[in-house]
């Protein structure tokens, strides 16, 4: 048995996964080969080192906020669900009207986003990252958080108003604002990026990303939904 072949078998040997004959041949090789013995010791030590990584206990109760949310949803279909159901029942009509409206909006109103009109001075301002109070030197900034209505008034309409209030206070483009609000309403998964690419004169691309983190926290025995918006700017150089 060669050393190169042995190496592949060492971990399996430690895990007692080798057939009797292979094990015998491996042990025979190990007897004569100090390097492979050393490798075996290193594999064994690695497993031991990995065992030193201990488990953790959650700092907060994770299950009960989840249960509160599920119980609430099961009790009554939320306004949002009722709305979604209504939309699904009439989706053809809504689609037809929607498509017409979009075409109308694009052609008649000439929405700047679709036509990429050259940047106005106030648009340049919009790209200035909001300086974070927490860590002003960092390349990201955190839009201050605000607790949204507590459990008993878990009402999507209130929350949409709440998030709109938060978002309104910042220099966001309408598209970014839409993305953030939609992500928040959908709550598909907590981590969503809204990318906005912008070419910088020196040839690099500036990407501004927002990450919306929807999180449920339990405070004073109440479930609160908290939203955190993190804004980051990355410069990408062309390949």
């Amino acid at each position: 048995m060669k050393c190169s072949k042995t190496i592949r078998l060492l971990q399996a040997y430690l895990d007692n996964e080798l057939s009797a004959s292979k094990e015998k041949r491996l042990e025979h090789h190990l007897k004569g080969c100090s390097l492979c013995r050393l490798e075996l010791a290193a594999f064994r030590k690695t497993s031991e080192a990995m065992d030193s990584l201990k488990g953790i206990d959650p700092h907060r109760n994770l299950v009960s906020p989840v249960m509160d949310i599920l119980r609430h949803e099961q009790e009554a279909p939320s306004l949002l669900e009722q709305f979604v159901r209504l939309v699904l029942q009439n989706k053809r009509k809504i689609l037809a009207v929607g498509v017409n409206l979009i075409i109308f909006a694009i052609l008649v109103l000439r929405i700047p986003v679709f036509f990429n009109t050259p940047g106005k001075p106030d648009q340049a301002d919009m790209f200035k990252p909001v300086k974070s109070r927490l860590s002003p030197s960092a390349d990201y900034s955190i839009i201050p958080l605000k607790d949204l209505p507590a459990n008993e008034s878990y009402d999507p309409v209130d929350m949409v108003a709440g998030i709109n209030d938060i978002v309104d206070g910042y220099n966001l483009t309408p598209v970014e604002k839409d993305m953030i609000v939609n992500n928040f309403i959908n709550d598909a998964n907590g981590f969503i990026e809204a990318n906005n690419k912008k070419n910088v004169p020196d040839g690099t691309t500036e990407v501004r990303s927002f990450r919306v983190i929807n999180t449920y926290i339990s405070k004073d025995g109440k479930v609160r939904r908290q939203v955190i918006i993190i804004q980051g700017t990355n410069r990408e150089t062309p390949e």
Partner: protein, 222 residues
Amino acid sequence: MGNKGEMTKDLESLSDEELMWLVQKDKLEAFEVLAIRYEKRFINFLYKFVNNRSIAEDICQQALLRIYKNRKKYRNTGKCSTWMYTITANLARDWLRKNKRFTFISLDKPVNENTDIIDFCQSPEPTSSKQLEDKELSRMVQCAIDSLPDHQRLAILLSHYDNLDYHEIAKIMGCSNGTVKSRIFRAKLRLKDLLTGYIAGKEGEERNEVLENDQTVTGIFG
């Protein structure tokens, strides 16, 4: 109330699959028992996977919500735990894919540049040098795990810490048993390479004892 307590006790004696059967019938009490049963396993897996407690806790809650919302999609053909792990692992991988470029920020505590994630997670101050050494070793192990590509990281975590077998991991990762084996092997190989230097340094004095009078070994450990 007495009845409720008794019912929970009954539920606790059920297997995962039996509980899942009840969950599919919209029994929230059964889901609670199932969630509590898996909470710690998931949080430990996620913590090692993303190396951030708050994010691990968030993903864990999302996973529980998603498991409940997708309860009708569970087919009683395999172990319930495998199916639940699949959902959790997918969320964790999604997160990792999307957030590779970002710095981790704790959502619960003020951001402090000197705050080490591992430091504040391991609560009591270590007193003896042995504890300090253990802490340093686990920090090294976590760093080494962080440096693995995510499919290797997932495979090694599930096999080493969650004690899942190749077949289950293959189901979770959506690949063949052979691929799982090779991912775990590569991960072990890399961890071994990354950690050997550290382990050897720490055990400099014990070297002879460990290697049993072997004269040729200093080449690697030295």
